[in-house]
């Protein structure tokens, strides 16, 4: 069992679980398959020796964001009967929009270079915390700080929106 085979099997599983997200009829099941997909993506990161990104992907996406998704879906408790009916126009525009995005992806990735899977025993520590932190605080310090400002802005915005709604009710 060499790394190439593991990478192929893992890739297949990743795509399979991602497909199940859109094939599943029930929204809660879709979300659970999405969680599984995040785990598969993390496994892919580990295969590329990026342990930090892998675990952060699990903590942030699978552990926090998807829990909130699931939370909302469970509260709504959508089922086949009370699912909002979407018209044929909405479906058609969704297909066109999705297809456009798909075309852009294919066009962008067509000439991409395949990243080979590396073993965890490799001497280089590209994906490990130390080298990642050093890069983030030297070479990429401006984008890093900019994105943190963006996140704070988004957070303040969300709080503001929630507060305003409450005042209207009162």
């Amino acid at each position: 069992m060499n790394l190439e085979t593991i990478a192929i099997i893992l890739g297949g599983l990743t795509i399979g679980s991602a497909l199940m997200v859109i094939i599943s009829k029930h929204p809660v099941r879709s979300v659970l398959y999405l969680v599984l997909t995040f785990f598969m993506i993390s496994a892919n990161y580990i295969l590329m020796n990026a342990q930090f990104i892998a675990i952060v992907n699990i903590i942030v996406y699978a552990g926090a964001i998807m829990v909130l998704f699931l939370f909302v879906l469970m509260l709504l408790n959508l089922s086949r009967e009370n699912e909002p009916k979407s018209s044929i126009m909405v479906k058609l525009s969704a297909v066109i929009a999705g297809g456009t995005l798909f075309t852009v992806f294919i066009a962008a990735l067509k000439d991409g270079v395949a990243v080979a899977a590396t073993t965890a025993t490799d001497a280089d520590s590209i994906g490990l915390v130390e080298s990642l932190g050093r890069l983030l605080f030297t070479k990429y310090v401006l984008p890093f700080e900019m994105s943190s400002v963006l996140f704070i802005a988004a957070m303040v915005g969300a709080v503001l929106l929630a507060k305003r709604e409450k005042q209207i009710i009162e």
Partner: protein, 347 residues
């Protein structure tokens, strides 16, 4: 090949110990409760009721395995499985002691020394909520759903403060590996001060401990299974060994979180005067120290459960978001300033 066999043995031993401690934690919980309430507690199965966990386990196994008609069948089965899996997985990055030597072979008392150890534990904590959420939702019962929703909101809220406390420890150590964190607290006394993190970060310890109570759904934060409001909470519809798995997972995570507290704040396998020993003696004494600390914390967890009444849910959220997170953020900032000062940034 021999390395694989060694790892396999370490894993099996860890698995057995986790399950054994979890099983006997149920016994001690009942004994501690009995002691606090001036009763005798379980005393029928074997001397002092010592076989009670086996009797309970046997009873759970032989009960009828029932799935409600309107439940989501597969998710209903998956829920307790995830809870148990997650509770058992976290133990594998904890360093239990220094290496044991068998002639030529050196056996590490840790299944995997990954360089992101503490984040691994945080990750598994954060997905632990899926077991409860899936089980509660799949039961198709409103009380179970309430329990599941309470569990998830509670766990997300307390994870933040917990993570910030972990960051202060990581800042002081300069590594995410649990082994490095333990080695950084070597011995007990050095350079005129205690080496254990609890003496350097008492505030972080208190916040981490409160968050650990909330993350393991223990009283006074056991809102997800608050029986006076929600019957049994998320496992209302569960019976036989499926419910057994939920209860077992709770006690396993009690054991693991006690071990994590011991590692992060109480020096793990370090003990005063450890430099006088070496080799296997040191390793065995280290295991003894580690387990002694873990059991003390398990006892404190139980002590709190049988002393403090349950919080109300809004009080719980208030405490998490408005008290613990700001305090831990200030604590982190002060720690950063002190580290910067020691590094000579202000000279």
């Amino acid at each position: 090949m021999s390395e694989l066999i060694e790892k396999f043995i370490v894993i099996v031993v860890l698995f057995t110990v986790s399950l054994g401690v979890a099983a006997y934690a149920t016994y001690f919980e009942r004994k501690v409760a009995a002691w606090f309430q001036d009763r005798i507690g379980p005393d029928r199965a074997g001397p002092f009721g010592i076989l009670q966990p086996l009797a309970d386990g046997g009873k759970l196994f032989f009960k009828e395995d029932f799935i409600p008609e309107k439940a989501e069948k597969w998710l209903f089965i998956l829920g307790p499985g995830i809870a148990m899996f997650v509770a058992l997985m976290t133990g594998c990055v904890i360093p239990w002691s220094t290496a044991l030597e068998f002639g030529e072979n050196i056996v590490e008392m840790q299944v995997a020394d990954v360089n992101i150890g503490i984040l691994f534990i945080m990750g598994f904590l954060s997905i632990g909520v899926y077991g409860i959420m899936i089980g509660g939702w799949a039961s198709n019962n409103k009380f179970a759903l309430f329990g599941a929703i309470r569990a998830s909101s509670q766990m997300i809220s307390y994870e933040l403060a917990m993570g910030i406390c972990v960051i202060t420890i990581v800042m002081m150590t300069g590594s995410l590996s649990l082994k490095d964190i333990v080695n950084h607290q070597h011995g007990f006394w050095a350079d005129g001060y205690f080496t254990w993190n609890v003496f350097k970060q008492p505030l972080a310890f208190i916040i981490f401990f409160i968050c650990a109570l909330a993350e393991t759904n223990r009283a006074p934060f056991d809102l997800p299974e608050c029986e006076s409001e929600l019957i049994g909470g998320y496992h209302t519809e569960y019976g036989s060994m499926k419910m057994g798995f939920y209860l077992f997972a709770e006690y396993t995570s009690l054991f693991i979180s006690s071990a994590v507290i011991a590692v992060l704040f109480f020096g793990g396998f370090n003990f005063p005067g450890m430099d006088n020993f070496e080799g296997n003696t040191l390793a065995l004494l280290g295991i003894a120290a580690m387990f002694a600390k873990t059991f003390v914390f398990i006892f404190i967890f139980m002590w709190i459960r049988w002393t403090i009444p349950r919080f109300r849910f809004d009080q719980l959220m208030h405490l998490g978001w408005k008290k613990l997170i700001p305090i831990s953020l200030i604590n982190m900032l002060v720690t950063g300033l002190v580290i910067a000062y020691n590094e000579g940034w202000f000279n």
